[in-house]
């Protein structure tokens, strides 16, 4: 079954907060749900499908449905880290095509930054333990004993991939820095972005090493907030007053250590991307705007190559000299500033990737970064860790 044309994204909303001191996780989910409904021109009772991932507390779909008073006939709690909302859009299209729901709500929200500040304050008072940026690992995960003693953190699990890419293909820190530079050029126009100052290649490579060869400015921000999407049956989308954004292609794939046959020269996007392009019947050269998951600069570089925007190993040259800057480069990316500068709510960047692609297709991005007559866009996510295990999701969206 092809999902090309099976559903439309009719609502999109990004929470304006970046530090939710006084807002609970559920309140954030509710705020973004309300925002997306208002954006679509729909009401709560129109929703009959709901999608969320591991950032939703308690029983996930059940807990959020209760808080919002939703009456549902289809739920999906596909969890694969930050790329989950990209998979949720595809799964919502499939559910709509199968007649399981008509209007699907997807939410992502969290407050890791506020929670970290609270934990640090308790620690300063001599109470509590040192805060964790991420959830503690599951003790039943079978790989845990063979990894945790070695200190894997998110940063070094991406840095290892960057070093290998440099070794195999001659990629440089300066080339990776250009990805951050492009994001900062876009973020200067976003009043909600956490980091709005334009930075230079020198700023990036002179920032402190976090995990070599990645510098502090190679890393995304840590922020609170969230986002929501509403995916609807075509007949419903046609009745609404918003521009029509069609789901044209979808792909998803996990990649793991494969029993020790590890090859870090490619990511799971090398598998999810071709499926999405085949379903959409388009090629990378047709894409006018790309939202690329930017947990780190290397994440963007890997997706550019694996999705076919350039050949394997040529990502460094592709991004150098402003290659990703809207209006100047060859492929405008993350025009909201991305996770590198704008927002990485709940340590998950998937929903904001889709939201900015929708803004571009509607012509609602900031005028300084809006792609002229943007009618075909891509949103790509990498959830998990690039060096160990992750899941990629690829979406191709079209403005009718």
């Amino acid at each position: 079954m092809s999902l090309n044309g099976a559903a439309y994204i009719v609502g999109a909303y990004e929470h304006p907060t970046r530090k939710a001191d006084a807002l609970s996780v559920l309140r954030l989910h509710a705020d973004v749900a309300k925002g997306a409904l208002a954006d679509a021109g729909l009401s709560k009772d129109d929703i009959d499908g709901y999608f969320c991932a591991g950032d939703a507390p308690g029983l996930g779909t059940t807990t959020v449905a209760e808080y919002l008073g939703l009456k549902l006939r289809h739920v999906d709690s596909t969890e694969c880290g930050g790329s989950a909302p990209i998979l949720h859009v595809a799964h919502a299209a499939a559910a709509i095509a199968a007649g399981q729901c008509n209007v699907a709500l997807i939410t992502l929200a969290g407050r890791p930054r506020a929670a970290m500040a609270e934990a640090q304050a308790r620690l300063a008072d001599g109470k509590g333990k040192a805060p964790l940026a991420l959830k503690p690992p599951d003790p039943d995960a079978p790989e845990l004993a063979f990894e945790l003693p070695y200190g894997p953190a998110t940063q070094n699990l991406y840095a290892i991939v960057a070093r290998r890419h440099m070794h195999e293909f001659g990629t440089t820190s300066e080339q990776l820095a250009w990805i951050k530079v492009a994001a900062s050029h876009h973020a200067q126009h976003n009043p909600h972005a956490m980091l709005r100052d334009v930075v230079t290649v020198a700023d990036v490579i002179n920032s402190p090493l976090v995990s070599d060869p990645l510098h502090r400015l190679d890393c995304c921000v840590m922020s609170d907030g969230g986002g929501a999407l509403i995916v609807a049956r075509p007949e419903i989308a046609m009745q609404l007053k918003r521009p029509l954004v069609k789901v044209r292609g979808t792909g998803e794939a996990p990649k793991h250590a494969m029993g020790g046959q590890i090859d870090l020269s490619y990511s799971a996007a090398a598998w999810s991307g071709p499926r999405a392009f085949a379903e959409a019947g388009v090629t990378p050269a047709d894409i006018q705007y790309a939202s690329l998951y930017d947990s780190f600069t290397i994440t963007v570089l890997m997706q550019l190559e694996d999705l076919g925007f350039c050949k394997k190993g040529e990502g460094g040259r592709f991004v150098a000299d402003g290659g990703l800057i809207s209006g100047a480069g060859r492929l405008p990316f993350n025009t909201d500033g991305g996770g590198l500068c704008n927002n990485h709510p709940a340590n998950r960047g998937g929903v904001t990737k889709v939201i900015e692609a929708v803004r571009q297709l509607r012509g609602e991005a900031h005028p300084a970064v809006q792609v002229t007559n943007c009618s075909l866009a891509l949103a790509s996510g990498i959830g998990g860790a690039l060096a160990s295990r992750h899941t990629a999701g690829t979406l191709i969206l079209e403005r009718l």
Partner: protein, 128 residues
């Protein structure tokens, strides 16, 4: 050398033999007798062919650095790495017993076992 405390591995029944061998200074891999392939981390069920006819074999304990990254400053610095064993299996580990600036991709390394905090010994690698 880092003064980082090494958390004790949580041992599941199917990997108990691995940890007992580690305490004796031996690095074990799992081999499938149905498809003749090695895998790591060790499972009862072969991830290549799903046979349950898997057995423990001794690894030579030598290999080369696939990639690595050093995190943290001064005494807290440690180097996460992937090492490809001469048997062809790549595993997560730490590079130890040398300065981070002296590590390189492709470098020949050998296994050394380091104590964990109240648990089994953990396989790490150091340059020859």
């Amino acid at each position: 050398m880092s003064d980082r405390k090494i958390p004790a591995p949580r041992v599941l029944p199917e990997s108990l033999a691995y940890w007992q061998a580690a305490d004796e200074g031996r690095l074990l891999l799992k081999k499938c007798r149905a498809c003749d392939r090695l895998h790591h981390y060790p499972r009862d069920i072969c991830p290549h062919c799903l046979s349950d006819d898997t057995v423990w074999v001794d690894a030579a304990g030598t290999g080369s650095v696939y990639s690595f990254s050093t995190m943290g400053k001064g005494e807290a610095a440690y180097t996460l790495a992937l090492v490809t064993l001469d048997e062809g299996v790549t595993l997560m580990t730490n590079l130890v017993d040398a300065a981070p600036k002296d590590f390189a991709i492709g470098q020949r390394v050998k296994v050394v076992f380091k104590p964990s905090e109240g648990g089994h010994a953990v396989a790490m690698f150091s340059p020859f």
